[in-house]
Amino acid sequence: MTALLRLVLILARAEQRALWRGLALSVTVLAMGVALLGLSGWFITAAAAAGMAGLGILFNVFAPSAMVRLLALGRTAARYGERVLTHDATLRALSGLRIRLLQGLLHSPYRQLERMRANAFLNRVTADTDALDGALLRLILPALAGWTVILCSGALLWPLVHPWIALAVAGGYLILPTATFALGQRVARHPARRAEAALQAARSRLIDLVAGRDDLAMHGQLRQSAAQVETAFARHAAARARLDGIERVTGALLDMTGAGLTVLALGLGIALVQQGAITAPQAAIGVFVALALGETVAPVRRALSEIGRMTQAARRILPALDTPAEASGGQPPEGTLVFDAVTFARPEADRPVFAPLSLRVAPGETVVLEGPSGSGKSTALLLAAGALTPSTGTVRIGGQDPAALPLTARTGSIAVVPQRHALIAGTVAENLRLAAPEASEDRLWQVLETVQLADTLRARDGLETRLGFRGTGLSGGEARRLVLARALLRQPRLLLLDEPTEGLDAETARAVMSGLRAACPGAAILLAAHRTEERACADRHVRVTRPENLHDRWGI
């Protein structure tokens, strides 16, 4: 709950003006609804009283009937305005939330970012940000507007009707629904968490079942795996049924609150009329206002059914929003890359990935890292980029430790092209300009020529060729070269490449490799490579080997 409130504050602060206006309109809508019913009730009862007394001629019908029409039309108009404004504010706030999330994550450690590539994480983020769209719209705004209108109604009933009726109606509506909500969300917390966990387990098990069905069938595990999926779904259904039960009880409590307070207003009204303290039309106002205020309670039900998901989502999203203070300054490192007996161990692993590694790459030189797959070549590149910190030994670029530099300084002169191709939905030009927003079209074509992609793209829509999500629409080799071209746009002083020509035919691979060197003659290039075309362009080769003489837990 605290996480959710903090998140709502962050959201609200960003869109203060729009939200205040939205709130004002929400209050107007509710207030007009209450006034409409209260006034109509009074009008009819008072008219009846006047008619019975034979005073119909003297009764001013025009003011109240005009008011009734005004309120009816005004309420409709205000409703429209309220919907547009609050939805706009919410969309703005959510858009802001997603942007902040992206900004916050931008500064998280590399390994953490890397884990986010998993589909499970991405689905989770999508679901979480979607769950939060109701936080303002269906929780906070209705609550604030409801309280305001209830208080105002109380303040008006006090002089217009009677203090007791004012206290009973306003006090009851202020306390009872809020208490029901507080209680309901507390009781629902555990089943909501269980339901969520069971659904995630079911999802993950179903993925394993579908993707691994052949393997599971081969090992005779298919029936059992299907049963495990069904068990998880059944657990979800059980928790869900419990949640539904809680919602039914709280729903009934809320219904009874409205009915009970109307009864109270009616009973008090009758008693007060019989004592002669108020007139029948005044009592009617009390009853009708009590009835009308039921509308302020309606959103509580919906909010209760969503609050579990919202709080869980907020708890997960909130930590990612904390943007660390942007460290700036620091010169982009330049000069020779030096590894001095560097090792790196994955967290919790009891041995390093590779044997101590030492190498030098001077500006203008090309050095190839060799070694079997899994030997840690990619890790070595990330160490050179300062994305990872070595366990022992030192990494220096022109005497500076890249891992100690602020991100902006580091990326100012170092570019890494990993094996995966990180492309986004949009045009080719948009993807290229992510690295260099001011690059001219000529410059874009120039780097595309370097990576042998210009002809391919010219045959399509040139720089305006559109890519789908995650760069779909290009073949693997094309995507990889586009990423390479993007790195070249930054004119790096240190270029770190992970198997850059994988998937290309030998001729194109050679052309790309010689083009790379020609495009940045002064850069130090370190590449992880298997292929002869890549290895041929190297000044030196360095072998990455597995660490030897390990203590082996399995005694083999």
Binding site: D133, L206, V483
Partner: protein, 542 residues
């Protein structure tokens, strides 16, 4: 936990809907109590007993709440049964299918069964009963109004006239709102996911801040377009509310003037009593409420129908079924002689083949010649279109498939590792045999993992390199000492050292008396087998 019988679905659904209509009807009686109390308060206040009136109203309100709760209970039960049946259906059908669905990958199907199916719940809980209420309550209220006053009935009829027109309007408004807006909001999530997936690598080229900026622009753009759609949708539902507000206001004014004695018409010539006047005023908003509920639930319907359509599309696909049940069985002992007789699958006609225990066979040929398919046919994962596979002369069929598969070791090219520990992925719970670790050269892999064989593997074996994953696959194939191993391209895409280790492991298995059938492009590996069978050529070695 007890499962609701799906056959009760219709009964629960009907009961819930009827109870929900009943609860709404009880409210009409409760409103009468209020109207009568206020009316009597005007004419003869001393006759009224505050406690009796309040008690009467409270009792009716309680009855309504109970009916409503019972309705929700029945509906929730129906929804649970329906969703559980759909989920179990997906799980069973996917487990039995021999080929992947054209509908989408494992992630898409899991999202359909888990998250998306939840959208059917509000549809069953809200939309169906709202539709029933919308077709019953307005008519009842209209009848009550007409009984007392034709004028009020006419007003209600005029304001909520053309209920069909009205409904079409609602439908149109909600449809544009839900479909387009949902699609656009969905796209925004996709955009975010797109950026998040690329963020780690984009940051490495210094493109981080620009990525955020470009997302911010796209996100703002989407917001503008979404709001344009929403405005139209809100405008149409405002028209709906306008009708209802005008209706209520006109009823209030007619009742007021009649009670004042200024209007002598509209009540069938009788004089309108205050109680009836107040009652009519209370009923007016209730006339419109079911229609508004229905409009609010329309969105639920659109969302649910989209999901149900998706399931229909998935179901409509005709997919071949795997042989057997995929359950544990006792392995066939001794290992039978395997024979292929006139087998074809799709456009591929396979050569007749006989493999005796202890033999090693390499299936060779260009990509697409059916090497993988033949291995799958041999394993009973697919059924041949013609011909048969014989095990010691007995046809491989549903009743023999499970025992036959228990006899086999399986080494696919792209294995799937479950979201479980490495140990579980190899031996399905059994501890790892040191000899197995030795043969599969697994010790280096185990040492590099943070928790050894208890390390959890994610989707696609996250945390394992290609070579490590292949060793684990070999270990899994060797686990349980199979009589025959079927291996698909065991050395493809590996560096020389790893390829050597894998070949070594397989040959050691053969030396220990194993039988091996493998598909390969690698001539060196093929040469180490007893014989080679070239697929995709007319004359195959037999």
């Amino acid at each position: 936990m007890p499962r609701t019988d799906p056959s009760n679905f219709a009964k629960d659904m009907r009961r819930g809907t009827v109870l929900s209509v009943a609860a709404a009807l009880v409210w009409l009686a409760a409103a009468a109590v209020i109207a009568w109390s206020l009316g009597t308060l005007l004419t003869d206040p001393s006759r009224l007993q505050p406690l009796v009136m309040a008690g009467g109203f409270a009792a009716l309100a309680l009855l309504r709440s109970l009916l409503e709760a019972a309705a929700q209970r029945a509906l929730a039960r129906a929804a649970d049964a329906r969703i559980a049946a759909l989920r179990d259906g997906i799980t069973r059908a996917e487990a039995a299918a021999a080929t992947p669905s054209a509908h989408g990958g494992a992630g898409a199907l899991a999202a359909l069964a888990a998250e998306k199916l939840e959208a059917v719940r509000p549809y069953l809980l809200r939309y169906r009963p709202a539709r029933m209420r919308a077709s019953v309550l307005p008519l009842v209220i209209l009848a009550i109004a007409a009984w007392h006053s034709w004028a009020v009935a006419v007003v209600l009829l005029l304001a909520g006239p053309l209920i069909p027109v009205f409904m079409a309007l609602v439908g149109w408004a909600a449809k544009s709102a839900s479909e387009e807006q949902m699609a656009e909001i969905g796209q925004l999530s996709d955009l975010l996911v797109d950026r998040l997936a690329a963020l780690s690598d984009l940051r490495l080229v210094g493109a981080g801040p620009q990525t955020v900026d470009s997302f911010a622009r796209a996100s703002e753009d989407l917001r503008h377009r979404t709001m344009a759609v929403l405005r139209i949708a809100f405008l149409s539902s405002t028209v709906l509310e306008l009708f209802s507000a005008l209706g209520v206001a006109m009823v209030a004014i007619w009742v007021g003037f009649s009670l004042l004695g200024e209007l002598g018409w509209g009540a069938w010539g009788a004089e309108l009593s205050p109680a009836v006047g107040i009652y009519l005023l209370l009923l007016a908003p209730e006339f419109f409420q079911p229609l508004r509920d229905l409009a609010a639930a329309w969105h639920d319907r659109a969302a649910a129908e989209a999901v149900l359509d998706e399931i229909d599309a998935w179901r409509a696909e005709d997919r071949p079924q795997r042989m057997g049940h995929g359950t544990q069985a006792a392995p066939l002992a001794p290992l039978p002689v395997v024979q292929l007789q006139g087998v074809s699958r799709g456009a591929i006609r396979f050569p007749d083949l006989r493999v005796a225990p202890g033999e090693t066979v390499a299936l060779t040929g260009p990509s697409g010649c059916g090497k993988t398919t033949l291995l799958r046919l041999l394993a009973g994962l697919e059924r041949p279109d013609t011909g048969r596979i014989l095990l010691d002369g007995r046809v491989l069929e549903d009743d023999t498939a499970d025992a036959w598969r228990a006899t086999l070791g399986w080494m696919p090219q792209a294995p799937h590792f479950g979201n479980r520990s490495l140990r579980h992925n190899i031996g399905f719970g059994a501890p790892l045999d040191p000899a197995l670790i030795e043969t599969a050269r697994l010790s280096e892999v185990l040492a590099s993992l943070p928790r050894g064989d208890l390390t959890r593997l994610g989707e696609r074996g996250a945390g394992l390199s290609g070579g490590e994953a292949r060793r684990v696959t070999l270990a899994r194939a060797l686990h349980g000492r199979p009589g025959l191993i079927l291996a698909d391209e065991p050395t493809a895409d590996l560096d020389a050292a790893t390829a050597h280790a894998i070949t070594d492991g397989l040959m050691r298995y053969v030396r220990d008396g194993g039988t091996l059938i493998l598909a390969t492009h690698d001539p060196a590996l093929a040469a180490r087998m007893d014989r080679q069978v070239a697929l995709g050529t007319a004359e195959a070695a037999a």
